[in-house]
């Protein structure tokens, strides 16, 4: 079983290599690229595809549908880290910025640190995983074994031992729950669970 898998992998690898040497014209472009030192490699989009496709073709090897083999340029100019092609796919930045990622499907998470008064170390959570305050607060309550009590616009989390707060883009510490969820998502830099006594000032603004 294992042997055939290994052979399968080598075959596909060869196929991938074959196509990579492929198209006339692509090599020419690369030759031109190599000629000038001034041009930074991330300005020459065609060379950047290679790293992306490389990692993709590796994952393809494990799927039955290995047919999406693309040809790509010589990898000499490929930057070491994963690079994105500028302006591709052709989607307006307005649209890209406004599209929220579906739960769990995004490759780039929105991880923020969570600290708690008295806890020896911090935690990190991916905000993109949650769609509302109630979801987020439940998770925090579980993670830190505390309760926040009822939120009200007037009095915050009055009466509870712990209060969830966050640091926003301006560096201010805010009470979680005051602003609409998306506004919170876009401005939250990190979270902190304060003791009720610590947080006395926050609900009063």
């Amino acid at each position: 079983m294992e042997n055939s898998l290994v052979n399968h992998e080598t075959e596909l690898n060869l196929k991938a290599t074959e196509l990579r040497l492929g198209l006339p014209g692509c090599d020419e472009v690369n030759k031109l690229q190599c000629n000038f030192s001034i041009l930074r490699s991330n300005k020459r989009s065609s060379s950047e595809i290679s790293t992306e496709v490389d990692s993709m073709s590796k994952s393809k090897l494990n799927t039955s549908n290995g047919s999406e083999i693309t040809s790509h340029d010589d990898q000499d100019n490929a930057p070491p880290s994963k690079a994105q092609i500028v302006g591709w796919p052709p989607i307006r930045s307005y649209r890209k910025n406004n599209l929220q990622q579906k739960k769990g499907e995004s490759e780039v998470g929105m991880y923020v640190k969570v600290s708690m008064a008295g806890a020896p170390y911090l935690r990190k959570i991916d905000l993109k995983f949650y769609k509302s305050y109630s979801e987020l607060l439940k998770v925090l309550e579980n993670m830190f074994k505390c309760t926040f009590g009822e939120y009200s616009e007037r009095e915050g989390y009055n009466g509870s031992e712990f209060v969830p707060t966050y640091e926003d883009k301006d560096g201010d510490w805010m009470l979680i729950g005051d602003v609409p969820w998306e506004m919170f998502m876009s401005s939250c830099k990190r979270l902190r669970i304060m003791k009720g006594s610590e947080a006395k000032g926050l609900g009063c603004f």
Binding site: S45, V53, P90, R92, N98, S134, E182, M183
Partner: protein
């Protein structure tokens, strides 16, 4: 010798002619027709703001009431045009403020609009009625305050997809209580909250309001009260379409509100959808002709439930969450569909998504006889599917296909997609706009040059093998107006051989191709009616050999000559000033050598 009708009669006749194309044709008939036409022209469309100077336009058309201007090249939408390239509207506003005080309408696309420009508009045009800023930038809510305070007769304020510095939501309060003429308001691009009570009051006192597009900061529970102020709405863009938790009373008030909007035909918005609120739309679905769900992250089943009740849909924009199965449902329910756009939900994801494939696209074409305009993002395509589409739907006029991974071949045969696109251009004789993707050789361009005789706009990326490709297009496509190319091995030969063609087009964009600096210079020198702009952020092209390719090239015809507002990374070829720059650079280089 003048056998024509008296001037008054001609004037009267011309007043029935609205289309710019027709008016342009009229102006070419004779000198007297040119004169009569120009004095009565009320609307002008300028597809490239640098093609002509404001003074020339105003001199020729003294009775202008409406102007449409486009600035940056289309690829600016995808961040290919560096910031600061140009497209400033101020000089136009300045000129018109002085000479066209009766101006009523300004429509701009991809231009830089400052608060100063908005303030100048607000105080210069007493009868100002329409301000449309599509994909513009450079202004803030301060500029909007000036418009709101001063434009007593404003009918339309549309900021679609513009980048606005949102300083305060109170700009809406600057519409005075006496202001009641609003017909169309689109503020969907604003990031922060607008003053909702001011908005509600505004809606309540404007009985002619037909279009309202809110931004995502407007909470869903406020929507019913807003709608109750304007039940006569024809087009609505919702704000966020969810609440933290589902509230049955919000749902019921939404149902009531929507049912009250008897004229509502077009819906958009739907940021952050909670599917349990979608049933609120069911009462109005049968009237809908346009539905934009392209920001809605909802499953295929929810989409299908909704669309299944929209038999009169003409236009549908969705995300690829719709999947093939959803598109089959569209094909079954929306028999009048004319336009379909399917956007990718996760463009950076490289995983092959088997739920939305070419099969969905083919099924919509099969089921919708009037489908003429398509934008489709997907991850796999085949020549067979494209040929099928070409034969099923020869009335296709706009076809933009974006296969997400560049150079992707036919997934069934591993061949280039040349023959598929070839079939499209061969059968769809009225094709006006085409965007290519996937693995393509020079062949596809041969097909395009041979068959695409009505093609006006072509977008090409990561395609072709040699100059022959570009040559086929430039020499074959008789009606080509706009050509935009990125990352293709096209170079000097085809460009120089077809230089004359470029004067018949609005513009040509080429980036990451192989056009040398020397060829650009030559083109600039030989073709005085073209502005040949070299855009290069890595430094003056003069400091490198003439044989080096330029980073980006933008060529457009112009009767205004080279523009005067270029940033440091743009050079116009063949221009005296660029020659002066050459001398300056040479002088500086000489100095360095002597150090």
């Amino acid at each position: 010798m003048d056998h024509s009708f008296p001037q008054k009669v001609l004037e009267h006749l011309f007043s029935f002619i609205d289309s710019n194309k027709d008016r342009n044709a009229i102006s070419l008939v004779s000198k007297s027709w040119y004169e009569i036409e120009r004095r009565s022209r009320k609307k002008i469309f300028i597809g490239n703001c640098y093609a002509v100077s404001p003074t020339t336009v105003i001199k020729r058309f003294p009775e202008l009431r409406s102007i449409t201007l486009k600035g940056k090249p289309h690829f600016a939408d995808f961040n290919l045009v560096p910031d600061g390239w140009g497209g400033y509207v101020y000089t136009w506003i300045e000129a018109m403020a002085v000479s066209v005080p009766l101006l009523e309408e300004i429509r701009l696309k991809r231009m830089v609009v400052t608060d100063e420009s908005l303030e100048l508009i607000a105080k210069s045009f007493k009868n100002f009625k329409v301000l449309v800023l599509i994909s513009c930038e450079g202004f803030s809510t301060d500029g909007l305050e000036a418009i709101a305070s001063n434009c007593r007769n404003l009918k339309e304020l549309n900021l679609q997809e513009s980048e606005v510095e949102d300083l305060s939501g109170d700009w809406l309060c600057y519409f005075p209580d006496s202001y009641t003429s609003l017909v169309s308001l689109n503020i969907s691009c604003l990031n922060n909250e607008v003053n909702l009570s001011a908005l509600e009051a505004l809606l309540g006192r404007c009985p002619n309001l037909q279009t309202l597009c809110l931004n995502h900061a407007v909470p869903l529970d406020k929507l019913p009260s807003l709608l109750s102020q304007c039940p006569q709405l024809v087009e609505l863009g919702t704000g966020v379409y969810s609440t933290e938790e589902m509230h049955p009373d919000v749902l019921s008030s939404l149902i009531t509100a929507f049912s009250g909007c008897k004229q509502l035909k077009s819906l958009s918005g739907f940021w952050n959808v909670l599917p349990s609120y979608l049933p609120a739309l069911y009462p109005i679905c049968s009237r809908l002709t346009s539905l934009n769900l392209s920001y809605a992250i909802i499953q295929s089943s929810d989409i299908v439930k909704l669309i299944g009740q929209c038999p009169n849909l003409l236009r549908l924009w969705v995300l690829d969450y719709i999947e093939d199965v959803g598109l089959e449902a569209v094909a079954a329910s929306c028999k009048d569909l004319q336009e379909l756009r399917v956007f990718p939900s996760d463009p950076s994801c490289l995983e092959l998504n088997n739920a939305l494939t070419e099969r969905g696209l083919v099924s919509v074409f099969k089921g919708c006889p009037k489908l003429q305009s398509v934008l489709y993002f997907c991850r796999q395509m085949s020549n067979a599917a494209l040929s099928a589409i070409a034969q099923i739907r020869p009335n296709l006029t706009r076809f933009r296909l974006c296969i997400l991974e560049p150079h992707t071949p036919d997934y069934l045969t591993l061949q280039p997609l040349d023959s598929g696109f070839g079939a499209i251009v061969e059968h769809c004789k009225d094709l006006q706009r085409l965007s290519l993707s996937g693995l393509l050789t020079d062949r596809v361009f041969e097909y395009i040059g041979t068959h695409a005789k009505k093609l006006e706009m072509l977008s090409v990326a990561f395609a072709g093998d040699s100059d022959l490709g570009l040559h086929y297009v430039l020499s074959g496509c008789e009606n080509l107006r706009k050509l935009e190319i990125r990352d293709c091995p096209f170079g000097d030969e085809a460009l120089l051989a077809n230089a004359a063609k470029l004067e018949t087009m609005r513009s040509l964009w080429m980036s990451s191709c192989s056009v040398s600096y020397g060829a650009c210079k030559l083109l600039g020198q030989k073709m005085p009616k073209l502005n040949v702009e070299v855009i290069d952020e890595s430094g003056p092209p003069d400091s490198r050999p003439d044989s080096c390719p330029v980073e980006k090239l933008y060529i457009y015809r112009s009767i205004a000559g080279p523009r005067l507002d270029m940033p440091g990374f743009v050079w116009t070829m063949g221009d005296d000033s660029s020659r002066k720059l050459e001398l300056d650079v040479a002088g500086v280089e000489a100095q360095f050598r002597n150090l």
